[in-house]
């Protein structure tokens, strides 16, 4: 069905279900309880899950398949964001033209960057993309201020004159919408003590992510995807057979740049603002982390990694020392303070420390990311079952 094998179809169905039911899944704790702070089912965070999911899926098409490690992908996200906000400022607050423009502009920009960077490979490629991204960041900050708003960035304003839309007379700022459907509108459902929020923006972003995910499955399974994997495993051999691999890598680069642009456009569609820090190279590093953490080169990995990192970022940075004291109140006084003192550097503002440690641990011990971890655990149990079968069958022989 849909051109997918049965296994991929199952995966697709699981992802669809996860996206559709996320408001339930992410809100397992009743409102007002102690654990309510670990609920992640509010619109802002859920939107970020899917948007960074798109970003990571796109990055994975480049890094996971061809092995080219780009350290400048945030530049495409930023360029997409700027394109989208200008469409919203000049044309209409409907998100569709904004997103189309974001993808197109990011695609063109990545074509230029990719054409130049892909002349080199390995570490040179990483540094070239990094240099391009830093250059775009510096330019957005300084030279291009009329276009980017410099340090303050761009927001929707009350006096934006849009071609396809009349300016609101009451001086209010028009919101991003999808044919009149406000992105920020939500429907709240209360079941007992639980409260679930269904947000328009989240579901629109979610549907787009599902489309992006479907497209990435098709790319992975296509002859084109096989070609990209061949680039990763042995580019020299490919070149010796008389095949020019650069068009393929360039295509992969542009596709992943367009994904990044789409993510950037969606970000603008959700919060209608953009600033140059979105292009800073730590942002590029973040998407690398997501992809590696989830599992580079796997289908579901990047989505998992993006969700993991965004979830932990939100939750861990919320924990403070009084919450820790609450958790460990059952320990003797001295012990309690000691345990809290040890954990304290890793929570709250120290979230990046935790992130760095997790990331290093994954690269060192689990290069395949969470997906490989899951497979290893599955294999562990699988082998036990096989062993048990063997044990049963041996006496019968």
């Amino acid at each position: 069905m849909l051109g997918l094998t049965k296994k991929d179809l199952n995966l697709m169905v699981i992802v669809v279900a996860l996206v559709a039911l996320a408001p339930f899944i992410l809100n397992p704790f009743p409102e007002g309880s102690n654990m309510a702070q670990f609920n992640a089912g509010y619109p802002d965070l859920m939107q970020r899950f899917v948007i960074f999911g798109i970003f990571a899926i796109g990055f994975n098409i480049l890094f996971g398949l061809t092995g080219y490690l780009s350290f400048g992908h945030a530049a495409f996200l930023g360029v997409g964001s700027y394109a989208a906000i200008w469409m919203m400022k000049l044309l209409t607050t409907n998100i569709i033209p904004a997103m189309i423009m974001a993808v197109v502009v990011a695609g063109v920009f990545s074509l230029v960057v990719g054409y130049i960077s892909l002349r080199r490979s390995g570490i040179y490629f990483s540094i070239l993309t990094l240099a391009f991204a830093q250059m775009s960041f510096a330019m957005a900050y300084s030279v291009l201020t009329p276009l980017t708003g410099g340090e303050t960035g761009l927001q929707l304003k009350a006096n934006d004159a849009r071609i396809l839309e009349s300016v609101p007379t009451d001086g209010s700022i028009s919101r991003a919408n999808f044919f009149g459907l406000d992105m920020t509108s939500s429907y709240e459902l209360s079941v007992g003590a639980w409260q679930f929020t269904f947000n328009t923006g989240y579901y629109i972003a979610g549907i787009i992510m599902l489309l992006a995910f479907y497209l990435s499955i098709r790319i992975f399974r296509s002859p084109f995807g096989v070609m990209l994997r061949a680039v990763k495993s042995n580019q020299n051999r490919m070149n010796y057979t008389g095949l020019n691999s650069r068009p393929y890598t360039l295509a992969a680069f542009v596709i992943s740049g367009m994904y990044a642009g789409l993510a950037g456009g969606l970000m603008v569609a959700m919060d209608t603002q953009v600033g140059p820090e979105r292009m800073f190279w730590t942002a590029s590093g973040e998407v690398v982390l997501m992809t590696i953490l989830g599992g580079a080169g796997t289908l579901i990995g990047p989505v998992l990694g993006a969700g993991m990192i965004k979830y932990m970022e939100n939750i861990i940075s919320k924990i403070n020392s009084s919450i820790l004291h609450q958790w460990f109140y059952w320990l003797p006084d001295g012990m309690e303070d000691f345990v809290v003192a040890i954990i304290y550097p890793f929570i709250g503002k120290g979230w990046h420390l935790t992130l760095g440690i997790i990331f290093m641990a994954v690269v060192i011990f689990l290069p395949g990311g969470l997906v490989e971890g899951g497979q290893r655990i599955a294999r562990l149990f699988g082998r036990k079952k096989e062993a048990a079968k063997d044990a049963q069958s041996t006496p019968a022989e």
Partner: protein, 343 residues
């Protein structure tokens, strides 16, 4: 003319920092073949070595000075550094004043220790893994080191002044026969440049004129053969990693009076230093130094008001532009050797 000289001088101190970091990066890359994204963090740790030392030196206890009173008439509380008690007030004050240069002595063993620990504990396991993995793990390490420093020292820049003897400026204009006050250059930047030159010279001399350096150079050319000759090349490369870390650290120590250290300074320099290494040619030590100074000076030329009038913002992007142009026209960099990272 005087404006040109001023810009060259201005470029020298930044160029020195680029050159020192790039030198360390190239040493690591040339010996171990590892791309070290944590090198900027080593630079930053070096800077915090001098912060730490000046804090240690100014550790104080409070005494109540009966001879002085505050505005309410109460006896004044005065902080007295412990060092006054040990070495006397005058010597103590001089030592506190010279905290930054003294940190060099403190930083060398610390940085070599950190470098050796890093190589033995982590990077050793990554020689056989792809370059992407090396980049990623050192990138993770850089985040961790940076956050540890942030936890202990806070996120704000910590001003660490140079010794009082070097706080003024030197008037080159008068010396070179131009009008006085046209070319003014802070003393400490001159010191930094001289220091960088000495360190660079020392590293080259060490590699060129000692037996150890000769073995290391041989190992850079052909590691396997040197190993087959019965020389423990791994041990020597580990020490070279320590030296590279120390070079980055010393660059950081002496940079503190120019720019107050904060936890993210390493990352800012790292990106530029990579560009420097690539421009200079991967694996070429003279190339790294040359490109470091060249790009530093270019950057300061690009920030001249007359240039910015025609091309606004050029100072922000010149280095990247040059790097892109060089990589496209001369893929090996200015002085790159054949066969290094060709594929």
């Amino acid at each position: 003319m005087d404006a040109l000289i001023l810009q060259i001088l201005n470029g020298l101190d930044k160029g020195s920092a680029y050159a020192l970091i790039a030198l360390g990066l190239t040493l690591i890359f040339g010996t171990l073949g590892v791309v070290n994204f944590a090198h900027g963090a080593l630079f930053m740790i070096g800077a915090f070595c001098s912060v730490t030392l000046s804090r240690i030196l100014t550790l104080s206890y409070t005494v109540i000075d009966e001879s002085q009173t505050d505005f309410l008439g109460n006896p004044l509380k005065v902080d007295v550094p412990y060092i006054h008690g040990w070495l006397g007030k005058e010597t103590g004050d001089v030592i506190i004043d010279w905290a930054v240069p003294l940190s060099i002595i403190f930083a060398i063993p610390v940085m070599i220790g950190i470098g050796v620990l890093m190589e033995r504990g982590l990077i050793k396991h990554f020689y056989k893994r792809p370059h992407a993995d090396q980049i990623l793990v050192t990138f993770g390490l850089a985040i961790v080191l940076q956050e540890i420093i942030k936890y202990f020292y806070g996120a704000n820049p910590i001003p660490t002044p140079a010794p009082a003897a070097f706080t003024g400026s030197f008037d080159f204009g008068a010396m070179l026969g131009f009008d006085p006050n046209t070319i003014i250059y802070p003393y400490w930047r001159l010191v930094y440049f001289a220091f960088a030159a000495v360190i660079i010279g020392a590293v080259f001399a060490f590699l060129q004129f000692t037996t150890f350096g000769m073995v290391v150079r041989a190992g850079m050319a052909d590691r396997e053969t040197v190993g087959l000759l019965g020389i423990n090349i791994d041990k020597r490369f580990t020490i070279m990693f320590g030296i590279a870390a120390a070079v980055a650290g010393l660059a950081g120590v002496m940079y503190t009076p120019i720019n107050s250290p904060n936890y993210s300074m390493g990352m800012d320099f790292l990106v530029l230093s990579f560009v420097v290494v690539v421009v200079g040619g991967m694996g070429s030590l003279p190339g790294a130094v040359l490109a470091g100074f060249l790009l530093g000076i270019l950057e300061s030329f690009a920030s001249m008001a007359i240039v910015l009038e025609y091309v606004p913002g050029l100072n922000q992007i010149i280095i990247y532009l040059v790097a892109i142009i060089i990589l496209l026209t001369r893929p090996r960099g200015l002085m790159g050797r054949k066969g290094v990272m060709e594929d």
